[in-house]
Amino acid sequence: MHIVVCIKQVPDSAQIRVHPVTNTIMRQGVPTIINPYDLFALEEALRLKDKFGATVTVLTMGPPTAADSLRKTLTFGADRAVLLTDRYFAGSDTLATSYALSMALGKIAEEFGKPEIIFTGKQTIDGDTAQVGPGIAKRLGYNQLTYIARISEVDLDAATIRVERRAEGGVQDLVSSFPVLITMLEASNEMRRGTIENALGAARAEVVTWNAEAVGIEDLTKCGLRGSPTIVKKVFAPTARAEKAEIVEAEGGVDAKAAALVEAIFAKAPGIEGDLLELAGEHYV
């Protein structure tokens, strides 16, 4: 079995700051991490590898520095890392990203065998769109299985896979056929550490690096900014609310404070008392 996991190197957004005066992003020293959601996908792929024996290829489109993140996936136990990098990809939106990645996946299929399963994360923490996975599936004609909480069965002979999918209002028990694209739900598993052999192998490994030409992209207008139908016209910081919170103060102990707060809440939201009686009423009959 050949499994490809798409990962993205993202800025650790917890550490991004907005310049208070100029409203620009202060990137100084902001570390990058592997998009946390992608690790659930990778771990799932490695579990399938443990169980059925598989080659796990990790793919990312990003700047040359994204090789660091790729190498890290090798320390977890992935077998091969592919970096798709080209200045023509700069400014790609999800449509252009899924185009470039699907071309790279075509090349991966050619060079290393067609993947039965492609994994992506549920979403990225910088883009947060959850669109790249579905975009790839559509372009490659893979069966799309999003928000997967669990892979319950794989039948290699029948080339089928059974999964639990988080749907609105419930869980779907689905069965589909290879090839499939799966986006894994968070908290479905926990990333392993990788052995010393994995770590040494990762340090030695060459990251396969391709540019647009290498993956057969001839029409560069489908890439990067030019290939992106969406246009970001404005980036701005959220406006602060004009008035600050009204601070409730009360003399005396905590009971006095609590009473004052209850009063203040009812004063601020006069309708709420009626609602409360309805919602909470049964506790007090």
Binding site: Q15, R17, H19, P20, V21, T22, M26, Q28, G29, P31, D68, K72, T75, R193, G194, T195, I196, E197, N198, A199, L200, A203, R204
Partner: protein
């Protein structure tokens, strides 16, 4: 598992400045080097003020200025003696420091170390991150022949292990190579990074371009403990921190955090940080025992470099340059032995200490060998009474209030006498000078 059959020429434990210097120099000379770092990347666990002294790095990567992530080059040094409300001190600013190859830079360790580590990899060393060396593997004769890590799998073998693991030196300690570091020979420093727009920093410190300022401070800010405070300007941030000897913290009950908060609130410091956003907080140990605290540095199959060997000049706040220099010298020793196909025996590796003796590292540490002890013994005076007296004297002298200058002189003099410290101060000054020599 073929990779485990042939031992590495050298394993370097740690990817701080000392480990990176050692690994880089050996890899560049074609040795088969494995470096193991427990942090997520080189620099992720490291804390430093930080000032980079060009010379030590220049000896390893001569044209480092072209690509290393440097913040500002230092053109001004301020030495402040502080009491609770004021500071007096010395300023040295010179346009000479705007030279073509500046002598000192402020850096951010996380970025700098990462860059240095990339050079190590380019030079051909294998680098493992997020891997902690847990113990040294020894053969029956007690010679160190490899390391074990916290990852599952077989031990990794090498002809020599260079311990560049920093001040705690747990691997060396656990393996019985050297004693635990004493609480009175290490300082605990806490540091914050404060974000400020470039223009604000430049306006506030009277800088242009990439010029930078360094402030070193001592006095009542350490609440009677042995220690110093510092403030460095980076490109778009300010590093501010304070540190004291660990055993002092233990006896005083003051927490490092309280100390830093008080330092930042000091009327001389506060306006410099005004409007900034705190980005990160970190605490780290600094070995300050000096020459007398240096442990055994070599043995069969092992060498110690950097902070792990207590190579810090506390008086001049130099550490990373000693780290890089000891790393380089250790590497050169190992390279020479490897080329001659000689054993990494205790006797052969002792050559490292001989080579070190000829560098500024040992010469400087020897010169200041008495100072750590002196400052520690007389901490009440150096970090309490003296700064206060000096400050009072300054104020009396500069305040124009109708009192004639002779009376002012007398007041100052009697103030010194009242606290009976004039003689003590002269004595201490004398002792300090003697220790300095």
């Amino acid at each position: 598992m073929g990779q485990f059959d042939k031992p590495f020429d050298a394993i370097v434990v740690g990817a701080g400045p000392s480990g990176n210097a050692a690994a880089y120099v050996m890899a560049r000379e074609g040795l088969n080097v494995l470096q193991i770092e427990r942090g997520e990347y080189s620099g992720s666990k490291n804390v430093q003020g930080a000032i980079l002294y060009s010379d030590a790095l220049e000896k390893i990567i001569p044209d480092f200025r072209e690509e290393a992530p440097l913040e500002r080059h230092v053109i001004e040094q301020r030495m402040w003696m502080m009491d609770d409300a004021s500071h007096s001190g010395m300023h040295y600013r010179s346009n000479d420091f705007n030279e073509e190859k500046p002598n000192r830079y402020t850096i951010l360790r996380a970025q700098f170390d990462k860059w240095f580590s990339s050079k190590v990899k380019e030079a051909g060393a294998l680098v493992l991150y997020e891997t902690t060396v847990t113990e040294l593997v020894k053969d029956l004769s007690g010679k160190v022949i490899g390391v074990r890590t916290d990852r599952q799998g077989a031990p990794i073998m090498a002809n020599v292990v260079i311990l560049a693991e920093g001040v705690n030196g747990l691997v060396g300690q656990r393996s019985g190579l050297r004693p635990e570091v004493g609480a009175d020979t290490v300082a605990l420093a806490v540091k914050e990074m404060h974000f400020l727009p470039r223009e604000t920093i430049e306006a506030r410190f009277n800088l242009k371009g990439n010029e930078g300022v360094v402030i070193e401070a001592m006095g009542t800010i350490t609440k009677g403990m042995t220690g110093t405070g510092f403030l460095y300007t980076n490109e778009e941030s300010i590093s501010v921190g304070i540190g004291c000897i660990v055993s002092d913290f233990a006896t005083s009950g003051v927490t490092p955090n309280e100390l830093l908060e008080a330092f930042k609130a000091h009327p001389s410091i506060k306006p410099l940080l005004e409007g900034s956003e705190v980005k990160e907080y970190a605490a780290h140990l600094i070995p300050e025992g000096g020459y007398k605290a240096i442990p055994q540095l070599t043995g069969a199959g092992w060498v110690v470099v950097g902070d792990a060997g207590q190579f810090v000049n506390a008086v001049h706040r130099e550490g990373s340059n000693l780290a890089m220099t000891t790393g380089r010298v250790a590497a050169e020793t190992v390279i020479a032995l490897t080329r001659k196909r000689e054993e990494m025996s205790a006797a052969n590796l002792a050559d490292y200490e001989k080579r070190l003796g000829e560098t500024f590292v040992m010469k400087d540490l020897k010169k200041y060998k008495g100072i750590p002890e002196l400052l520690h013994r007389k901490k009440g005076a150096f970090f309490g009474a003296y700064p206060q007296l000096v400050s009072q004297a300054m104020q009396t002298w500069f305040r124009v209030d109708g009192v004639d200058k002779v009376s002012k002189e007398k007041a100052i003099y009697s103030n010194f006498r009242k606290t009976r410290t004039l003689r003590g101060m002269m004595g201490d000054a004398f002792r300090l000078v003697m220790a300095w020599r």
